[in-house]
Point group: C2
Chain length 185, copies 2
């Protein structure tokens, strides 16, 4: 248990805030902690009926580069996580989800953020609109699963929620390092 | 591409900083971005010779709860990622790594942080010391892999780096949702 003594600073972005807190650790020692108060988010693995993944390429400012990711975004006030996944998929890719399967909820940056990401699978998406969010998305890319597994094998997928989504959907099997690792275990 | 116009605020923790920047988006519109400048980090999946995982339970202030995770921490200035993984394993659990296998590097919070986490596997760790870091660690827990897979199946492992570590080590297979999902894909 760590208890907040006082907040000594804060920064406010459009949809979340960052605090710098003085705290007392469980052993009584003082410490200082960054704490991001972040809304929940949803991410979705969209698969076409042909078994390809619908991915987005976008510029990530904090990282200073473009990355390839599954569609995702923050849950709006009053929205539920599944509705958010549907909305983000449509806004970012122009594809519409049929059934959504809830796969997992996890915390991406447990050391400094309370963000939780809900991961869904959309196993039968269809193209609906040519329009995508040009403020955020550089391109929409339709990628066969085997090509995606090859990218993971080469370490080319940097984004954590994309890796976890593929893993909990059972789509990473064979892309990982089980043989070399298990031989020692 | 998004270009920084100016930094309008910042917060400084012991080992990383958070900035609030005014930026210009690729389409010319203005926006405001949180940007965390974070050192690299290492995480390690430590397995005993009996095939159990050595995990740590720790209080996470931003989340307000205890979580079960693989050992991990920030790379010190001048340290390399593998040395960091060895050091954090020993400090947090009292176990010493034999061979380390580098598995993957990913970005946990791509929307607001430049943090990169290097994931290693340590397939033959041995107990070395009873002393662990009481400032950070509540308990060290030795967990059979099948029990860990059951926890993932139940959604009980919240920590992203732990999920990705297990996935890229090939240790999650059978704990995921492949059948229900693939039937639609």
């Amino acid at each position: 248990m760590e208890k907040r003594v006082r907040t000594v600073g804060s920064l406010n972005a459009a949809s979340f805030s960052v605090y710098l807190d003085d705290v007392v650790l469980a052993n009584g020692e003082p410490a200082r902690r960054i704490r991001i108060d972040h809304p929940e988010a949803s991410a979705v693995i969209p698969l076409t009926r042909g078994g390809e993944a619908v991915m987005v390429r976008q510029y990530r400012y904090a990282l200073g580069m473009e990355t390839l990711e599954i569609p995702a975004g923050k849950v709006d006030p009053g929205e539920d996580a599944e509705a958010c996944a549907r909305r983000e998929l449509l806004e970012e890719t122009g594809y519409r989800a049929g059934e959504l399967v809830r796969l997992y909820t996890y915390t991406p940056a447990i050391g400094y953020s309370n963000e939780r990401i809900h991961i869904f699978a959309a196993p039968d998406v269809d193209p609906q609109s040519e329009k995508t969010d040009e403020r955020e998305i550089s391109s929409v890319e339709i990628i066969p699963l085997e090509a995606l597994r090859t990218m993971v094998r080469k370490g080319e997928i940097l984004d954590g929620k994309t890796l976890i989504g593929l893993a909990v959907a059972g789509l990473l099997e064979g892309a990982c390092y089980s043989e070399g690792f298990r031989s020692g275990g």
